[in-house]
Symmetry: C2
Subunit: 319 residues, 2 copies
């Protein structure tokens, strides 16, 4: 029987520590070639496209996530997982939670691997579902003392800060500018829909780590080249996907291309991560294909049990 999963079940069963562990395993599997993650394919419709991101854990499962580009605020996605032995559908998830928690967990893995072990402050620009998932995951890998948040509407950022306090038990403040949100922060998250830079590199503190979730293409990016110039270390979750953007991803053009590294290589210990406390590290999140199915597999394995609450600080060392 196929296991049908809704957002409510994902929210109830998937804690951040489990998600971060699963996605770390996905990144390592992709780096080692066990997770096959081809470039996404899209079918054109009137007014938007249907996009398929496929993945395969060799000899275990194959599956996909689907989403569209119609831009509906409450649009839902499908994540499907086939058993490799017989092609049957083991699980199908519907909604937005698998996708956003997957992206959150990618950010969590990057912070765990690259932020300073004593990182304790988090600044967020953006207050949507993706921003929330980042805070959710980062709180599972570092002991956060305070979260600051900025978005364009005062009501939106106040609501976000209240949610951080209520659901994660972390002191949180809404602030008036993006610069104020990220100043003096150990970890910074950009998760906006902005096509133009929302902060400048000068706003960042030495030793900070930054995750960028939003637009990051030439001519359409939530940050500018100054951020990449400032970065001592530049990583992404998929070099292949990063290289397939059109227009190109900022981190893949000119001199940046030679500096962009696979997060999986850092996790595997085959590329250096942070080597000094005052380096600035930047993670360009592209959404590793197959990772939604990877997370669905972890969530629906027969032996999977609802895990305990998030354990801040667990596994605070690199990867």
């Amino acid at each position: 029987m196929t296991h049908f999963i809704t957002d409510a079940e994902v929210a109830a069963r998937l804690d951040a520590a489990t998600a971060v562990e699963a996605i770390r395993d996905a990144l390592l599997a992709a780096y080692r070639g066990r997770l096959v993650a081809p470039p996404r394919v899209a079918a054109p419709l009137a007014g938007g496209r249907l996009v398929l991101t496929a993945g395969q854990l060799v000899d275990e499962w194959y599956g996909f996530g689907s989403y569209d580009t119609f831009g509906h605020a409450e649009g839902e996605q499908v994540v499907a997982l086939h058993d490799a032995a017989n092609g049957r559908l083991r699980a199908v998830a519907v909604g937005a939670e698998i996708g956003s928690r997957r992206t959150g967990a990618l950010g969590g893995v990057a912070v765990r691997a690259l932020a300073r072990p004593d990182a304790a402050t988090l600044g967020v620009v953006g207050a949507g579902g993706q921003a929330w998932a980042q805070v959710w995951a980062v709180a599972a890998v570092r002991r956060l003392r305070e979260v600051t948040v900025h978005c364009r509407t005062p009501a939106g950022r106040e609501k976000f800060a209240a949610r951080v306090r209520a659901e994660l038990g972390i002191p949180a403040r809404a602030v008036d500018t993006a610069a104020a949100a990220v100043r003096d922060r150990d970890v910074v998250v950009l998760a906006t829909t902005s096509p133009t830079p929302v902060i400048s590199a000068a706003d960042l503190s030495p030793g900070s780590h930054l995750n960028t979730i939003g637009h990051k293409q030439l001519g359409r990016s939530e940050f500018g080249p100054d951020l990449l110039d400032r970065a001592d270390l530049l990583v992404t979750d998929s070099l292949a996907q990063a290289g397939a953007y059109d227009p190109p991803m900022l981190g893949t053009v000119g001199a940046y291309a030679g500096r962009l590294r696979a997060l999986g290589a850092v996790l595997a210990g085959e590329q250096p991560g942070r080597t000094t406390p005052d380096q600035v590290t930047v993670f360009c999140s592209v959404g590793l294909a197959g990772s939604e199915a990877f997370l669905l597999d972890r969530l629906t394995r027969p032996e999977a049990e609802p895990a305990g609450p998030a354990r801040p600080g667990r596994g605070a060392g690199p990867g």
Copy 2:
């Protein structure tokens, strides 16, 4: 809430007459440009591909069917239907029934539009799920007096004939050769996995209609060019998809290309169908994209009610 649908529910709720009506509407909507049905897209994995066929009924819904090419006998598919107004998933079906009944209904529409109104005998080559769905649909559009069936294994064809008798209440016989199955038949179905011709055109009676469901490409086809030469009328459910085969579909090469017509155009009355009782008509089924989602929409509309049993002979006139 998303309506999750399994094969058991499809089998219980979808009668053949309803399926044929829905797929006729889909063919007309595609012909008139309301059903957007782009070519399928595929993501390569190790040992197979994941294929997405997308469709969109403008201003009503968009959706997809997914399947793979790993060749599992019991492999399952996903069919998903998004509400065009908000992107939410109205329904998700898992299994094989929507897909095979969709293909069956395409064949049923072709028979209703092109077979002689008094067609009463059906000969089938192949005894798998696709062959069964053809008989199921044809029985809803013509009053069948007898079904003959051939496949390679005696046990397989006897079982198929017994199922026709038991589930459709139609006399049915298993026969030793493909030629014997189709000789003197008003309607013929080829639904095999054979890469080489299973009958010759000389086996067909004047006035017969044939549906081909299996391989139909240059160098890999369940029939030979003699069948196309014999056909007075050659139709397909999607000229665009027929033209996208690689290697090319037999009916699109050389002189055949100019003769191949859209079934939707015949249904719309803009191309002639059968004009005399002794013409031979041939339907090359390619699986109109978007038609799985169309069927799922019909099955899960709020006003949809489980319909009664199949009504043989209903709507026996052309399209």
